[in-house]
């Protein structure tokens, strides 16, 4: 499978990365090189093979459902580019 410039622009939008016309052209070539390289996986017979879900055979750890953390609003917003009274500020989303 290979991608065209239109697909690259659609994927870039899905990934929320702005691309110029030139970027999209260049990325098309790069992505096709990588997709061409991974193509060889199709020759592997995977009938009856389960997809891997965990590399270590272990049951997922669960913890007791109690509050162990909190009251850290100031820490959480400390690195944000724009905040107001422990809220993150973003451009208007709802009119």
């Amino acid at each position: 499978m290979s991608v065209d410039v239109k697909t690259v622009k659609r994927v870039a939008h899905l990934a929320r990365i702005a691309v110029s016309e030139d970027d999209a052209e260049r990325m098309t070539g790069e992505l096709n090189a990588i997709l061409g390289f991974v193509e060889q996986l199709n020759e592997v017979d995977v009938s009856g093979v389960e997809p891997m879900t965990s590399v270590t055979p272990m049951e997922m750890k669960k913890r007791i459902d109690v509050v162990t953390d909190g009251n850290k609003a100031a820490d959480i917003v400390a690195n944000a580019p724009a905040t107001d009274e422990n809220f993150f500020l973003v451009p208007k989303v709802v009119e």
Partner: protein, 521 residues
């Protein structure tokens, strides 16, 4: 020994506990070495001198009272991927500009609890994506090793050579260093360079497809990626969560064992942290390997592999045989599919993990007319080319209609790769010996690699299988190529049998010796 930076961790540990030197002295020695070398090598992106001095002072107080921990007063460098409270933590990406976490990663917490001293944060490929440390927002790291040539120089008969070999005929051979700058490998290039160039006693690193072992091989250092689940991933910037593991880069096998013992732990904050006690890895060093079964996988003899790599591999086989190991030929039939499967799984996980860099919660924000434009502009400006490329691949293979063909197929192949190893271990093989990399260090801005991303990816051809199967792997220096550059061998072990790796790597180290670059910086 006058230069304290030349001490290994085990040597420094003995001198610190024996009160022959102080933590402050050794810390100052490293800080001035960094001052002198960093403009040339670019290994550190942030030096935490004041913090280092404060930590050393506390260590000295403990050492005086005879209370020092396992790493008391040992100065370490920390890869920029590890969250360090109040200190530069940016994964060497523009998108994390100014980020200083309010928390400390579990691995670094463990090191500080054992008394280690932090010198600063180490350069790396952006978000650990790269094999040359050239994708860093802070510029490439330079390998302290350079190619050299052997020249025959005619000497006046009355004069004795200075460090060269004087022959009876009045000529001597001397190595002269080439000026070309080489990459230290990646993504832990800053860690490898800092350890190799004596800018820290040891360093933390991470490995998703070879990012500890490949730079270790390129710089003549020892690097181990432990079993998935051995070191907590909590507080480490995530790249591909099912593959990422932390581990040390050190000057010798013993130092790597000392560091891993401190870094590893069982951590309730990481659900993939495995509930097993951490053994004393150092105790494995020096144990005989007589009767150990060493597997040699035929699939690692790849087309176009340079002669010196094959020769190195044969030397490794001979050393282990001499030490009493039994050498057996094995087959890992799905080896060639590991790299393509990795380039689906890792980008898929990365595209998901890196979705959090949106200009809202931390780091860079580029304004836009609405929130979507703000996201798109922020991410376009904040991520470098390689990171964007991988996010795009990941987004594509996970998108509607392609998920089964790419992602599911790759996860099935991944199971087959793991099964290959399980079969070999079930047949009684204790450890697998392979080359660590398909070549020695290459030049900065190598044109072939810049033109074709896949060529760069092939650097990880011998290391990536280990991440796909979640196994432990160690790279240990084993010799120099004809141009005087270090080459490494890799040992792969059963899950959680890191001790076998240290035990076997120590045998290779004893036979091969250790390697230090000639100082030019």
């Amino acid at each position: 020994m006058s230069d304290l930076t030349r001490l290994t961790i085990s040597q420094a540990r003995a001198k610190l506990h024996g009160k022959e030197i102080t933590a402050t002295e050794i810390t100052e020695a490293y800080l001035s070495a960094i001052d002198r070398a960093n403009p040339a090598l670019n290994a550190y992106v942030a030096v935490t001198g004041d913090k280092a001095r404060d930590m050393a002072k506390i260590s000295d107080a403990r050492l005086v009272k005879g209370e020092g921990g396992a790493l008391e007063g040992i100065p370490l460098g920390i890869k920029d991927l590890f969250g360090t409270e109040g200190v530069h933590t940016q994964a060497c990406s523009h998108v994390l500009d100014g980020f200083k976490p309010r928390y400390e990663s579990t691995v670094t917490s463990n090191l500080w609890a054992d008394g280690a001293v932090m010198l600063g944060k180490l350069n790396m490929d952006e978000f650990a994506m790269g094999s040359s440390n050239e994708t860093s927002y802070y510029g490439p790291v330079i390998n302290p090793w350079r190619r050299s040539r052997l020249d025959t120089v005619v000497m006046p008969t009355t004069h004795q050579g200075d460090g060269g070999f004087v022959s009876a005929g009045g000529t001597k051979t001397q190595r002269s260093l080439d000026n070309a700058q080489l990459v230290p490998g990646g993504s832990s290039g800053g860690s490898a360079t800092a350890v190799s160039a004596f800018l820290c006693a040891g360093a933390t690193a991470t490995d998703t497809g070879g990012s500890i072992r490949q730079p270790a091989a390129f710089t003549g250092t020892v690097g181990i990626k432990p079993t998935y689940g051995r070191c907590s991933r909590w507080g480490i910037v995530a790249f591909a969560s099912s593959l990422d593991q932390a581990g040390p880069i050190a000057r010798d096998v013993r130092d790597a064992a000392i560091l891993l013992k401190s870094m590893a732990s069982v951590d309730p904050k990481d659900t993939t942290s495995v509930d097993r006690p951490v053994p004393d890895y150092e105790a494995a060093i020096g144990k005989p390997i007589k009767g150990m079964k060493v597997g040699i996988p035929k699939e690692y003899r790849v087309e176009g592999m340079p002669e010196e790599i094959e020769a190195l591999w044969q030397k490794g086989i001979a050393w282990l045989k001499d030490a009493g190991a039994e050498i057996v030929d094995i087959s890992l039939p799905h080896t060639k599919y590991a790299l393509p499967a990795y380039y689906i799984v890792a980008p898929a996980e990365a595209s998901s993990n890196l979705a959090r860099y949106d200009g809202v919660r931390y780091g860079l924000r580029v304004p836009g007319k609405d929130i979507v434009e703000m996201y798109e502009k922020t991410r376009a400006a904040g991520f470098g080319r390689e990171v964007k490329r991988r996010i795009m691949i990941g987004t594509y293979v996970l998108s509607a209609g392609y998920y089964d063909a790419y992602y599911l197929q790759a996860q099935k192949v991944r199971n087959l790769i793991k099964r290959d190893f399980e079969n070999v271990f079930a047949a009684g093989v204790d450890v697998i010996l392979t080359p660590a990399t398909p070549s020695a260090a290459f030049g900065i801005a190598d044109e072939d690699m810049a033109a074709d991303p896949v060529k760069m990816y092939l650097n990880d051809i011998f290391t990536v299988t280990v991440n796909m199967a979640g196994l432990p792997g160690i790279a240990v220096p084993a010799g120099l190529d004809p141009k005087g550059l270090p080459l490494g061998l890799q040992l792969i072990g059963r899950p959680f049998e890191e001790e076998t790796l240290f035990q076997t790597a120590a045998v290779i180290e004893q036979a091969a010796g250790t390697f230090q670059p000639e100082k030019w910086w």
